[in-house]
């Protein structure tokens, strides 16, 4: 019997989707924005699709004093505002009956005992076998305390096939450098087996990110070209239109390198650069991803000027509206050197990618929101149609758009109609929305369902988190040493600083406009 069917012979071959196991989802930090904006709308959509287990409950836990009714009202408000589907009378009442709330502080042992009592009563009344998922929607500094209290209160059980499961979901960022990430992971490992830990990066739940593996390994035309032999370079861009907004307290401590590069962008890099896994099992896929991180060429302090640019946005016009610079944002220190933009030239030092630069960039207050991976192929030889050195042909580019307007496009050269041979670049474009029409499920829907079914493929393993921090921490250390170039400036509403243009321009290349 497959592990995914949990010993249930009826589940074998069921075409109706992932089968979630009966459980209670406990959200620690349930009064926060993530619960209202993402988690509860995701659960609501799963309920509407009949994807939740037959025996299921959600228990919110947070310091804010709320009754079950107030939690349910807050859930409804969140669903009305942020869900892709709105509440309807009958189904909503069925759903909200599964929502409960316990008030308590993360540091208070008594609160965890109260949580346990409430969980046991809820599980008994709803026929839930005691399997629990703890979603830690809390600051990284609280993770250690929280898992220790969960253990002390007997809320977490060891991972054995015979007993109900205990799983913990950790939100990024896991730490703020290698040392703190290790400390958190050590604390978690003292309580939980790695198989019980699900480190979530919502980027990995997006359809287009999942499609990366399908695109690479379900199409025979790409893989033979997927190496230094044919690829000139790769650009990965995660551009945000928004400024730091209400997240200044967090962002001042994090910056673009920690907030985006260490997790989202390096995960995308792994999916682009990994070798073909021999199976789609969680650990096989993750083994192949870690192999990429292990091959990332370190960026020592002496290489920072050559390979890394950090910058802050200044005042500027965003879609015609004047917006403040980073230093003028509320709750940002006027002398802050926190970067809102970072661009890196990275190398994956293995046989496949020898010498191929990966240009990575992310920033706030860029002209528009766009996440994409662009794979630029090498130029054709400078003979025949590419013989004019003054007017070289545009090379082929395969672009995987992650958001918005998910899809992929391929730029190819073609002949313009007419008696003369004139070459013109055209774009073959595939758009999810155009072809498939339907609204895709939100990333959190897929990811929560995966945790309920015990599938960790789309979650980060400890070694991957630490390997990516290892690489990033070296850059952070270089910046901290003071020898690195100062923080550059770029005007809000532009694609980044001139220094970033020079970083790629030195190689005779230029950033794409996503």
């Amino acid at each position: 019997m497959s592990g995914k069917t949990g010993g249930n012979p009826l589940a074998v071959g069921f075409e109706g989707g992932v089968l979630a196991e009966p459980c209670t989802l406990v959200i620690l930090g349930a009064a926060g924005d993530l619960t209202r904006r993402k988690l509860l709308p995701a659960l609501w959509n799963l309920a509407l699709d009949g994807m939740l287990p037959a025996s299921f409950a959600v228990v919110g836990f947070s310091r804010r004093e709320l009754s079950d009714e107030a939690f349910r009202a807050s859930a409804r408000d969140g669903v009305e505002r942020f869900s892709r589907r709105l509440p309807d009378a009958g189904a909503w009442e069925d759903f909200e009956r599964t929502l409960f709330y316990v008030c308590g502080s993360f540091d208070d042992a008594e609160a965890y005992r109260a949580l346990r009592s409430r969980l046991e009563a809820t599980e008994a009344s709803l026929g839930i076998p005691g399997s629990r998922i703890f979603y830690l929607s809390i600051p990284p500094s609280k993770i250690t305390t929280c898992v220790e209290h969960l253990r002390a209160a007997g809320l977490i059980r060891p991972a054995t096939p015979a007993t109900p499961f205990s799983r913990v979901i950790l939100e990024k960022p896991i730490g703020r450098d290698l040392e703190s990430a290790r400390a958190i992971n050590d604390a978690v490992a003292a309580v939980l087996d790695e198989r019980q830990v699900f480190r979530i990066d919502h980027y990995l739940g997006k359809e287009t990110v999942q499609n990366l593996l399908v695109m690479r390994f379900a199409n025979s035309i790409f893989e033979p070209l997927w190496s230094h032999k044919y690829i000139d370079h790769v650009q990965i861009t995660v551009a945000e239109e928004e400024g730091v907004g209400s997240r200044a307290n967090y962002y001042e401590e994090a910056g673009a390198l920690r907030d985006m590069m260490q997790n989202h962008i390096l995960q995308l890099l792994c999916l682009v650069a990994m070798e073909p896994p021999w199976a789609l099992h969680a650990d096989v896929v993750r083994d192949h991803k870690i192999a990429v991180l292990n091959c990332l060429r370190p960026v020592p302090a002496r290489a920072l000027e050559e390979q890394v640019v950090r910058a802050q946005y200044g005042r500027g016009l965003q879609r015609g509206i004047e917006v403040p610079g980073y230093l003028q944002e509320e709750r940002v220190h006027p002398d802050s050197t926190t970067e809102s933009y970072v661009a890196i030239k990275a190398f994956v030092d293995n046989w496949r990618w020898a010498g191929v630069p990966f240009y990575l960039r992310t920033g706030k207050r860029l002209p528009r929101r766009a996440s994409e991976i662009a794979v630029q192929f090498k130029d054709v030889p400078q003979i025949l149609f590419n013989a004019d050195p003054e007017a070289l042909l545009d090379p082929n580019v395969l672009v995987l758009r992650i958001q918005p307007d998910e899809g992929l496009s391929l730029r190819i050269a073609t002949k313009l109609p007419g008696p003369r041979v004139r070459i013109y670049p055209v774009k073959m474009d595939f758009r999810y929305g155009t072809t498939f029409g339907e609204q895709s499920p939100e990333a959190y829907e897929r990811l929560l369902l995966d945790v309920m079914s015990g599938d960790a493929t789309l979650f980060m393993r400890r070694d991957a988190v630490e390997a990516s921090w290892d690489w990033v921490t070296q850059i952070l250390a270089g910046w901290a040493d003071g020898g690195a170039p100062p923080v550059a400036q770029y005007e809000a509403g532009t694609w980044g600083p001139a220094e970033a243009e020079r970083l790629i321009g030195r190689d005779g290349r230029r950033w794409r406009t996503p």
Partner: protein, 377 residues
């Protein structure tokens, strides 16, 4: 049987239908989408042609053509395709008429996302010409599916059906419309077996999916530890046209749980509306029953599962369909009353769902085999 979409519920925009010569279909389709029309006011009305599949739709009763019109539009909205609707038996003559249109969704910025829609209407003397027209209109490199809407299975040796099937990698049909009586399912089983390796999509099977999904979860050994191993009685109650759904659900349980159908009980048949069988499983005999309420609501309406735990204690689960696409469950211990969403897809969503899944459904084939054995008695 079909949970169809009415004109008032249809949300797709259907561009004006043009009657065209058969040989001009391709050109006219292009024109309808890409040539400026007198009514187009802004560039935003520019159309995007979307094709995920070739969908051949066979309708042998002209009266059904009007009834299915909105459903075809609904399929196009969910699974944009080049759709060729072939209506046979339009009078006794040998006329073959063609109509082109496009079924569009309005996307972001007013963009029209359009499926090409061709209707071919043939008199009895012209039906044999339909496959050749369809063959010329298939778009290469796309999956081709045949949606057989007729109330009868394609008769053996029917040239048109054979030719259409030869073009299609997938056959979509509804065993419930082809088989109103319990005894009808074996004929479906034999016909499906004759199709060889072609992918088969039975809409009656798709309609059982919410029930199967719920039963998988409610009878899961982690929720009801002794239920599956100790099942002793299963009863399925259903509406007039859901005999095949009931048999497929019983066949699914039997195939998944390793039961052998021992045969019909001596008192098994109780008129046309009740049948009882005995199956044997690893833990003993299981009493199976299907009951039809000719006046009841459509589909499967109620099911009962009784089991015996190793301690000798009896357990049970009852599931009832309630309004709003929900199923209510209640267990014998009285502590587990629950209503869960189990949305029953409308006909367009059922068809679109099958179009998107081109894999061979072995679970269905096994359920059909054992369901057919039950139908034979």
């Amino acid at each position: 049987v079909a949970n169809t979409v009415t004109a008032a519920e249809a949300s797709a925009l259907v561009l004006p239908v043009r009657a065209v010569d058969v040989e001009d279909i391709e050109r006219e389709l292009h024109g309808i989408l890409f040539e400026p029309s007198e009514t187009a006011e802004t560039p935003a009305e520019v159309a995007i042609r979307a094709r995920m599949s070739n969908l051949l739709v066979w309708i042998d009763d002209p009266n059904d053509a009007a009834r299915l019109e909105n459903d075809v539009g609904g399929v196009a909205e969910l699974h944009p395709s080049r759709i060729l609707v072939m209506v046979g038996g339009v009078g006794a003559g040998s006329d073959l008429t063609a109509y082109v249109s496009a079924i569009c969704q309005i996307g972001e910025g007013g963009r029209r996302l359009c499926s090409e829609h061709v209707v071919l209407r043939a008199g009895r003397g012209a039906a044999h010409r339909l496959p050749s027209v369809a063959r010329a209109l298939l778009v290469g490199d796309l999956p081709t599916s045949l949606w057989w809407t007729s109330a009868t299975l394609p008769p053996a040796g029917m040239g048109v059906a054979d030719e259409l099937l030869a073009m299609a990698g997938q056959m979509i049909f509804d065993s419930a419309t082809c088989s109103a009586a319990y005894a009808g399912l074996p004929a479906v089983g034999a016909w499906v077996a004759s199709l060889g390796k072609r992918t088969v999509a039975d809409l009656a099977w798709s309609r059982t999916e919410p029930w199967r999904g719920l039963l998988i979860r409610a009878l899961d050994p982690r929720c009801a530890p002794a239920a599956l191993a100790g099942l002793r009685a299963v009863r399925i109650e259903h509406g007039a046209q859901a005999t095949t759904e009931a048999l497929l659900l019983l066949g699914w349980l039997a195939s998944r749980l390793g039961w052998r159908v021992a045969g019909e009980r001596p008192d098994g048949a109780d008129g046309a509306d009740r049948r009882r069988w005995v199956a044997t499983g690893p833990a003993g005999e299981i009493a199976l029953e299907a009951r039809r309420d000719p006046a009841g609501r459509a589909g499967i309406v109620r099911s009962h599962f009784g089991w015996q735990e190793p301690s000798g204690r009896a357990g049970s689960l009852d599931v009832v369909a309630v309004d709003g696409g929900r199923l209510a469950t209640s267990a014998s211990d009285g502590g587990l009353e629950r209503i869960v969403a189990a949305p029953q897809a409308r006909l367009p969503a059922l068809v679109a769902g099958r179009l998107a899944d081109l894999t061979v459904d072995r679970v269905y084939l096994e359920a059909l085999t054992l369901g057919s054995a039950l139908g034979r008695g």
